[in-house]
């Protein structure tokens, strides 16, 4: 218990902060911050596995998040039968073509190692394949995108339950991470960072521009939810009774019947949004706790020790007979899968998929700040980092607005400097996060909750 004193203290402070938001702003805001904190926590667990356990720098978090989001669309949206009938066959042929291209290139690389003009044959296959694919897919894509472009214009998904898509999101990210890992993991740390950053950008630009697949920048809205809808709750008997019971002391003070009805209606509307968010909080908490237990067990297992050994000294770990390439690939895939899961959770929480919103600032660098601030190599630390940084990210604007007003209190309301500063209050979040990161890196490089090595 004593070992965990600082962990408990840090989490209690965080919990109190969120409760304070609930009391002073509103419970709905507090819960949506908490939900996003939990999603960020899942992302940081993924990034922490890669950076904290194995020392792999992965700046491609944005790409896996977007893939997780894409999985939600492809799994849970109802299929568009007209689109399938006009273009489905052609696209399936293209998929098959890509598949056979990859397999034939693999065969050439594996079996004909000594062939002299190996690379020109591979280049030929790729160029021929791209021309064929364009030739087959172009009319199909045009036809699909022409079908009711305001509403669909894409193939749609499979119409399965949305929770299933969380697993698929993880699998998508894992699959892509496997390919990227095969390509890029041999690179030195900072090259790996740049390469993953750029590859993530490619993934997002594909999702953004292939309208037949994901509707691109036209966004997909009204995704399915694993929680009830507010409007259904507001009309259901049991929920209204529940709200009435909860607020009976407050409602008893009201005398007139019409006032009573109005106040009750308002309370039901507020309570329904809180209830829906609580459902999400419950789901996310289950995921976070399950991941925490798994990662914690992994960290203190022989496998975790092996990863730390590889991280701290690659050469001696290799000398002990550990397969570094394989272990790095495994951990790269595992971490990315968790990030993909988080991406799917986030899109489910929002109820909409907006490929245009995936930007490296928000989805890669902020997540990295979370991991470093929280404590690399310590799962509790990484989760705490997700909470702290997300809380700051959301609350930075109100805090800085308060500070600006405090420091410019002596200036008149129309003062140019004051107006300018108040208008740019939202940008102070970058300043706060950046300075926070620089201070942590300088004075507490191991993070708020440092890594603990348990020796037994």
């Amino acid at each position: 218990m004593r070992n965990y004193a600082n962990v408990i203290a840090a989490y209690s402070v965080m919990l109190i902060l969120i409760i304070l938001v609930g009391i002073f702003q509103s419970w709905s805001i507090a819960l949506s911050i908490l939900n996003y904190c939990l999603i960020s926590a899942v992302m940081t667990i993924g990034a922490n596995i890669q950076w904290g356990y194995a020392g792999l720098i992965n700046f491609g978090i944005m790409g896996y998040t977007a893939l997780g989001g894409l999985a939600v669309v492809l799994v849970s949206v109802a299929p568009v039968p007209e689109a399938w009938s006009v273009g489905g066959l052609n696209l399936l042929i293209c998929l098959f073509l890509i598949f056979s291209m990859v397999i034939s290139i693999r065969i050439i690389i594996k079996k004909y190692k000594l062939l002299k003009n190996k690379y020109s044959i591979i280049a030929g296959i790729i160029i021929l394949g791209i021309i064929l694919i364009r030739f087959i897919s172009a009319p199909a894509i045009e036809a699909i995108e022409a079908i009711d472009p305001a509403k669909t214009g894409f193939l749609g998904g499979l119409g399965l339950p949305v929770l299933f898509s969380w697993i698929v999101g993880g699998l998508f990210a894992a699959g892509v991470a496997f390919v990227i890992g095969k390509i890029a993991l041999g690179l030195r740390a900072d090259y790996l960072a740049i390469a993953t950053l750029l590859i993530a950008e490619i993934i997002v630009s594909i999702i953004k521009h292939e309208d037949w697949l994901s509707r691109g920048v036209k966004n997909v809205i009204g995704l399915k939810r694993p929680a009830p809808y507010e409007i259904d709750l507001q009309n259901s008997e049991w929920f209204i009774n529940l709200v009435e019971k909860f607020n009976s002391s407050k409602l008893n003070l009201v005398n007139s019947v019409s006032d009573y009805q109005d106040i009750l209606k308002q309370l039901v509307i507020d309570a329904s949004s809180v209830y829906v968010k609580l459902c999400f909080t419950g789901l996310f908490l289950i995921v976070v706790i399950a991941l925490l237990i798994l990662t914690q067990r992994a960290l203190y297992s022989p496998w975790g020790r092996k990863m730390r050994a590889i991280r701290d000294n690659e050469i001696s770990a290799a000398a002990m007979g550990k397969n570094i390439v394989k272990e790095h690939l495994l951990i790269f895939v595992l971490g990315s899968a968790i990030v993909g899961l988080a991406g799917a959770m986030m899109v489910t929480n929002d109820g909409l998929f907006t490929p245009g919103s995936y930007r490296p600032m928000r989805y890669t660098f902020v997540i990295w700040v979370m991991v470093i601030v929280g404590g690399t190599g310590n799962n509790f630390g990484a989760i705490l980092g997700g909470f702290v940084v997300w809380f700051l990210w959301v609350q930075a604007a109100p805090i800085s607005l308060f500070l600006i007003n405090l420091f410019t209190a002596h200036l008149p309301e129309t003062n140019d400097l004051k107006v300018h500063l108040i208008n740019s209050a939202p940008y102070f979040r970058f300043l706060i996060i950046g300075i926070g990161l620089l201070f942590i890196m300088r004075y507490r490089p191991q993070g708020i909750l440092p890594e603990k090595i348990v020796k037994n």
Binding site: I57, A138, I183, A184, G186, L187, R188, A189, D190, Y191, A193, I194, A195, L197, L198, I199, E201, I202, S205, I206, K208, H209, M361, F365, W368, V369, I372, L421, N423, S424, Y427, F428, R429, F430, L431, I433, G434, I435, L437, L438, M441, R442, P445
Partner: protein, 336 residues
């Protein structure tokens, strides 16, 4: 005649824009590569540092315009560059003193410095947005075109027009001047040689009495000059928007690595490789083939290899291919 038309077409829509864009990338790539070679870390604040210098140029341009100062047919921004460079170097030196120097003296691993530069990126972005805001700004004044398409058509009697924007010529000329002065400095002067020595082998350089503080100072000064000029030229040619500058970091990194990171010549050429690849692969060749092929063979489709949406993706794909087959870059940089 048709062949000349085809050549003019390519010149107008691919070669000139690619040369301009390539010059802008090249300046940024040399900036990245110098920092990487001498200070030994990947600077993720590259785009935002360029944006920071450009911000001063934009603000000063507005100020000069308000007091009626101008360069005639040349953009006023050229007049503001020296002051902007001064501010940029001042900012970089402050950042170096309070942030980077600590890790350099401690000999931290490059990854840690890269993470620190992410922190600098956040702070720089915040400062820029607080001072100038995130909106799109144009600050080009003076003569916009050197040659207009209609004038060219009248002059030569060809079907295709050639438009030369003044920013294109300014970009190319300024880049050539700046880069040649820089290469002269690196190769012919004593300070430049000591910088190259420091980049090649730090211990040996220190042993032979090179002052590391001076090398770092000169590096930041050159970096400041390159970043500001690159940023201002890009802003004049397109427009100034902080978010776009942050994104430009990605092709700039690609150019630096493709050219062989740590090697300024490689970075210079890498910028053009990336720019030409991006523009040539996304250009629709329909009209071009219409001129050079007989009528019966004329293509129906756009003859576009990739849609322009994938502009960025091309440079990154080149980067991935280069990293796979020649990890030290096309022009031999530092070993990975």
């Amino acid at each position: 005649m048709d062949y000349i038309n085809a050549i003019i077409l390519l010149l107008n829509f691919t070669i000139l824009p690619a040369l301009t864009y390539g010059s802008q990338l090249a300046l940024g790539a040399i900036f990245v590569t110098l920092i990487y070679g001498i200070l030994r870390f990947a600077n993720f604040a590259t785009g935002d540092m360029m944006s920071f210098g450009t911000m001063f140029a934009v603000l000063l341009t507005y100020y000069f315009q308000s007091i009626g100062l101008s360069l005639g047919f040349l953009p006023t921004a050229l007049l503001t560059i020296p002051i902007a460079i001064f501010m940029m170097i001042f900012y970089m030196l402050i950042i170096d003193k309070f942030v980077f120097s600590y890790y350099r003296i401690k000999k931290s691993p490059p990854v840690q410095l890269a993470m620190v530069s992410v922190g600098v990126m956040f702070v720089t972005q915040a400062i820029i947005r607080i001072i100038i805001g995130p909106s799109d700004r144009r600050f080009l004044d003076g003569e916009k075109f050197i040659l207009k398409a209609t004038e060219f058509k009248q002059m030569t009697g060809l079907n295709e027009g050639l438009t030369i924007k003044s920013t294109q010529i300014i970009t190319i000329v300024v880049t050539i001047v700046v880069v040649s002065i820089m290469f002269w400095f690196l190769n012919k002067t004593k300070t430049g040689t000591s910088m190259r020595a420091y980049s090649d082998n730090e211990d040996l350089a220190l042993l032979s009495g090179i002052d590391p503080k001076k090398v770092v100072l000169i590096t930041w000064i050159i970096a400041g000059i390159l970043a500001t000029i690159g940023g201002v030229l890009y802003g004049l040619d397109k427009s100034y928007r902080p978010f776009v500058y942050f994104n430009n970091m990605l092709p700039i990194f690609a150019a630096a690595i493709v050219g062989g990171i740590g090697n300024p010549y490689g970075a210079f050429l890498g910028g053009y490789v990336i720019a030409f690849a991006e523009i040539f692969l996304t250009y629709a060749y329909k009209k071009f083939f219409g001129y050079i092929l007989p009528e019966t063979l004329e293509p129906n489709s756009l003859v576009q290899l990739l849609s322009t949406d994938y502009k960025f993706a091309i440079s990154f794909s080149i980067l991935v291919i280069v990293l796979l087959f020649r990890p030290s870059g096309i022009f031999e940089g530092k070993k990975i």
